[in-house]
């Protein structure tokens, strides 16, 4: 059974099709890099996979189940464009909150552990609104990984990250892949993403124009996929 299966998904805004008959799979342990121009539909697709909006046609299956089922939601971690943590709460309070919402047996310990793994243990009682940008991003990563999700959905995770945050995220993603987790990641930062990716899918105007394994040529020349399978500029 695939970890993530996108089966004939269409998304309409009014009558306009933002996604057209998208079919993709990601097997357990795979890292799928979703690439495409701005407006191709990467964010729309990721948000549908995560269960934030409904497809107009088609379905999503996460380990065979619907994204909105409670059991499925417990297995998913999402990092979007925002950091999704509360400015008025401290780092520790934020992680403990999410630990409780994700029904972890010991939210406080899990929160402390992830603060250490993202290098935030010293500022654990600081309010998020006082954090630097890099610290906020590392906290976002901690929040997404906190409940040990089997499937990670990341929307342009490397965009606007500082070096330390990039290093932390790459390390955590490598560890996750080694532990058999599945990652679907949309990206513009082709180099960082393609180094981790096992598979690549190219979205052009809402349609999948390429879906296959990530080859060494792609890593050494990231524009290769666009040139071969995308549209002329």
């Amino acid at each position: 059974m695939s970890a993530v299966a996108v089966d004939g998904v269409w998304k309409f805004y009014g009558d306009y099709p933002a996604l057209r008959d998208v079919r993709l799979t990601a097997e357990p342990g795979a890292c799928l890099a979703l690439i495409g121009r701005n407006g191709a539909g990467k964010t729309t697709l990721l948000r549908i996979i995560a269960g934030f909006s409904r497809p107009g046609r088609g379905e999503i299956r996460i380990f065979g189940k619907q994204p909105r089922e409670t059991a499925t939601r417990s297995k998913m971690g999402f990092i979007g464009h925002g950091i999704s943590v509360y400015d008025e709460l401290s780092a520790l309070e934020n992680l403990t909150l999410f630990g409780k919402l994700y029904r972890l047996p010991d939210p406080h310990t899990a929160a402390m552990e992830w603060l250490e793994r993202t290098g935030l243990e010293r500022v654990r009682n600081g309010l998020v609104r006082e954090f630097s940008r890099g610290m906020r991003q590392r906290l976002a990563v901690a929040r997404a990984f906190l409940h040990d999700p089997g499937v990670l959905l990341l929307d342009e995770p490397f965009t606007a990250l500082d070096d330390r945050a990039i290093a932390v995220l790459q390390r955590l993603l490598r560890e996750a892949l080694a532990a058999g987790k599945t990652i679907v990641m949309s990206t513009h930062q082709l180099r960082e993403a393609l180094e981790l990716a096992s598979h690549v899918a190219l979205l052009t105007r809402g349609q999948v124009t390429f879906h296959g394994p990530c080859t060494p040529e792609m890593v050494s020349d990231p524009g290769y996929v666009y040139a071969r399978y995308g549209e002329a500029v």
């Binding site: 979007g80 709460l89 909150l97």
Partner: protein, 227 residues
């Protein structure tokens, strides 16, 4: 395992903690309530007997307007940093998220009302303590109506244009029956008359309103959040 009510509690505590740390909404709401009370004192002479008779109604206008400031913040506080996404993605039901927020709003709005009440008593020279137990009950029921409709519409208007204007525009017409009932009951209670005979119908109406709209909100909240 987190039961439904534990989920509700986690959300409620989170909202209250975040609000009490900044106190932005409650301070603004309280200040607004006092300002409106003042303005009403200029418009309707508080020393007139007739004013005392309608003052119970005026009180609920104050509560409705000031309450909207708190209710507007309810889902708006999830906007920065895209926190609403995290809440929707978490394995809690939309109903638990809604109820937790509604209860947090309830506590905050009631707090503002209970501070405004003595000030109202002083400005208008009414003995609001005479029938306090019944008055408190009307406060509880009427405020829940305001809160439940305001919270679900806060979710509805969170990311649309002119949010601050749309919320009152949509909420007040829906609330007409409940506000009317609360006004009628309060007008009698602050002049020392207990709820009797006829007025019991208003009480039943507000209870019915609360039950119906809580149920409808719980059913439709998932549609509002996820679409």
């Amino acid at each position: 395992m987190l039961s439904f009510f534990q989920q509700v509690l986690v959300v409620m505590v989170k909202d209250l903690r975040a609000e009490l740390r900044t106190k932005e909404a409650v301070n603004a709401s309280l200040a607004f309530a006092l300002v409106i009370l003042l303005m009403f004192s200029f418009a309707f002479d508080p020393l007139e007997e007739t004013t005392r008779e309608i003052s119970g109604g005026l009180l609920w206008i104050v509560f409705a307007f000031a309450g909207t400031l708190v209710l507007n913040r309810s889902f708006a506080r999830e906007q920065p940093n895209d926190c609403l996404d995290a809440m929707i993605a978490a394995p809690i039901s939309g109903a638990a998220l809604f109820l937790g927020k509604a209860l947090a709003n309830y506590v905050l709005v009631l707090a503002v009302e209970l501070v405004a009440l003595p000030v109202f008593g002083i400005f208008y020279g009414v003995h609001w303590t005479a029938q306090f137990p019944q008055l408190f009950m009307v406060l509880l029921l009427g405020t829940w109506a305001l809160t439940v409709v305001g919270t679900i519409f806060s979710a509805l208007t969170v990311n649309i244009r002119l949010r601050e204007v749309m919320l009152p525009m949509l909420t007040y017409p829906i609330l007409v029956p409940a506000l009317m009932g609360a006004m009628q009951l309060t007008a009698g209670l602050v002049t020392g008359k207990p709820i009797s005979g006829d007025s019991f119908s208003w009480l039943k109406m507000i209870v019915g309103f609360d039950v119906i709209f809580t149920a409808v909100s719980l059913v439709l909240v998932e549609t509002v959040l996820v679409g």
